[in-house]
């Protein structure tokens, strides 16, 4: 446990030395939440036919999308971000020479972003429930399973990104592509059923689309296996595909930079 705790402690110390950024981040979160509330007021229940499968409440639909999209974004970006950050600081070589295994470096570096997102999301969740009238009818078990499988699927893609960043230093087309697509296509702000059928088809290639659908159904409608089972199986398939690909890509990248002599370059 000493290694993951060391990474967490390092990040907490560093984070708390940037006090202005900390305060601004808190303000941003509250302002975002207020924006979602007023957007929901404006929209009202006009999209009821499309929101009916999710309970019909736009604010609840939106907050679930935003909160979990934050987690998925961490899975997508945190590994490449960690590689890039250590390259910039000049600490990557010495970290890996110290006896830390590459996979340990990736996963321990991700702990703090996940924890921070958990704190952030808990606050949004709490405010959403207590202040803004978010309505939940959760099936906790299936929601947790859907959440974990989506996180794992996207983490596999994130590991591929980390491998690319390790080699390229900057400019990761996968992160860029997934970042663009997932915000637009996975149904964070609106149900994917609003798209024309060809775009709906394209949205299915993103694990986030299936994750958000399963999470909304299980958290807002207390849906059981018959409603979300197919989404969970798709997420499992995504996980089985992306994790080995991510591991292989990162391992290849690590060997390549040691052959090329660019491990410490930025």
């Amino acid at each position: 446990m000493r290694k993951p705790l060391a990474f967490l402690l390092r990040e907490v110390i560093t984070f708390t030395t940037y006090r202005t950024a900390l305060i601004l981040q808190l303000f941003s979160m509250v302002i975002s939440l207020a924006s979602y509330f007023f957007l929901a007021q404006l929209v009202g229940n006009n999209l009821i036919p499309l929101l009916t499968p999710y309970g019909g409440d736009f604010l609840s639909f939106l907050l679930i999308g935003v909160i979990f999209q934050n987690f998925f974004a961490v899975s997508q970006n945190t590994f490449s971000g960690a590689v890039s950050s250590e390259q910039r600081l000049g600490t990557l070589e010495i970290l890996l020479a110290s006896g830390l295994k590459p996979w340990e470096f990736l996963f321990y570096s991700a702990l703090w972003p996940y924890l921070l997102t958990l704190l952030n999301s808990s606050l949004i969740f709490g405010l959403g429930l207590l202040v803004f009238g978010m309505k939940l009818s959760p099936n906790i078990g299936l929601a947790l399973l859907s959440f974990l499988l989506t996180i794992i699927s996207v983490a596999g893609i994130g590991m591929i990104s980390a491998g690319i960043i390790l080699v390229n230093k900057q400019g990761d087309p996968i992160s860029w592509f997934m970042g663009m697509l997932s915000g637009f296509l996975s149904g964070v702000y609106y149900p994917v059923e609003i798209f024309p059928s060809w775009l709906q088809g394209l949205a299915q290639v993103l694990p986030q689309t299936h994750g958000l659908r399963a999470l909304r159904l299980s958290l807002l409608q207390h849906a059981g296996w018959e409603a979300v089972g197919s989404e969970i199986m798709i997420l499992l398939a995504f996980s089985l595909l992306t994790i080995p690909l991510g591991v292989l890509t990162f391992r290849w990248a690590f060997r390549k930079v040691r052959r090329d002599g660019t491990l410490g370059f930025y």
Binding site: K3, G90, E93, L95, R258, R259, G261
Partner: protein, 315 residues
């Protein structure tokens, strides 16, 4: 741990990099045999391959061809064991977390090293490097000397049998350099093997048991100082006579076989000779014919700097 006489060995160790579609040879067929408990000095001009060699030995680089073993472990086939046998100080100020204190940095690297005893060793390491006064200050406030000391402190956390130190005393104040040199000697006395990359040839003469000279990726000379001197093709003799030699006497001395150059000053004449051709007796015969009385005649040992400059010139 396997007990071995050689701490580091390499056979035809080579490394080339690609730049603009061209292969650049950074290290060419380097053979090393460094005994346990010794300090091996590595010197050479900038870009001669010293840091590349350290990175290969620490597993941060994979060789293009050839092989190396540290502490008996192959750096490619047994890279994890090899990595755990080595402590490395790369001499880079950027290899620390600047917003953390020196102690927080050491505690972080001790934790990630995976060696349970690293933590308990920290106070002793801090004391041995005289870091007590600054250890609770943020790294960003450190002077260059303290940054180097902390770099060295970090390399000791695992208590590794082998230390690879990349110019630990360059660009720092004399006090810090002295502390670091003393620590290197203490570590050697405790049986550690140290590879010391340095441009300071006086330092290499003082603390290294053996010295390797790299030039354009090739190890062009290797041995202890006396063997390097013995292999040096040139020598310098200092001659003092009564009456003192004059500038006009240079031409006479140049007639002696093997004498290539003569310089005179208030300390006498300095005769630069080729060892294989020069015989001191022929010079003494000449002095006798000139009726000079010899007050001093001795061989001036070449410094490591003389040897380095001679070996690396016109290559």
């Amino acid at each position: 741990m396997r007990k071995l006489r050689l701490a580091i060995e390499s056979q035809k160790l080579s490394k080339s990099f690609r730049a603009s579609r061209k292969a650049i040879l950074a290290l060419s067929e380097v053979n090393l045999a460094i005994e346990e408990g010794t300090v091996f000095g590595l010197t050479g001009a900038n870009g001669s391959g010293k840091s590349t060699l350290l990175r290969l030995l620490s597993t941060l680089l994979i060789p293009t061809s050839g092989s190396a073993k540290v502490n008996g472990y192959d750096t490619v086939k047994e890279e994890e064991k090899a990595r755990n046998s080595v402590g490395i100080a790369l001499g880079s100020e950027r290899s620390f977390y600047w917003r953390l204190t020196g102690l927080q940095n050491l505690e972080f690297f001790a934790s990630v090293s995976g060696h349970s005893s690293s933590f308990s060793r920290i106070p002793q390491i801090i004391a041995s490097l005289g870091l007590e006064d600054v250890i609770h200050k943020k790294f960003m406030t450190y002077s260059s000397g303290y940054k180097r000391r902390l770099d060295l402190a970090r390399s000791l956390l695992k208590d590794p049998p082998i230390l690879l130190l990349d110019e630990p005393t360059s660009f720092i104040d004399p006090q810090s350099a002295l502390v670091i040199r003393q620590l290197i000697l203490d570590l050697k006395a405790r049986g550690k093997t140290i590879v010391l990359v340095t441009h300071n040839l006086t330092e290499a003469e003082q603390i290294c048991d053996r010295i390797g000279i790299l030039d354009k990726g090739k190890l062009i000379a290797e041995g202890d100082l006396s063997s390097l001197r013995a292999s040096f093709p040139n020598a310098c003799w200092r001659l003092q006579t009564s009456p003192p030699l004059k500038e006009s006497d240079r031409a006479i001395l140049l007639k002696v076989e093997g004498v290539e150059k003569v310089e005179t000053n208030s300390q006498g004449a300095f005769l630069f000779v080729r060892k294989e051709k020069f015989s001191p007796s022929s010079l003494l015969s000449l002095v006798g014919t000139c009726n000079w009385e010899i007050t001093h005649f001795a061989l001036e040992e070449p410094s490591l700097e003389d040897i380095f400059l001679k070996l690396t010139e016109k290559r």
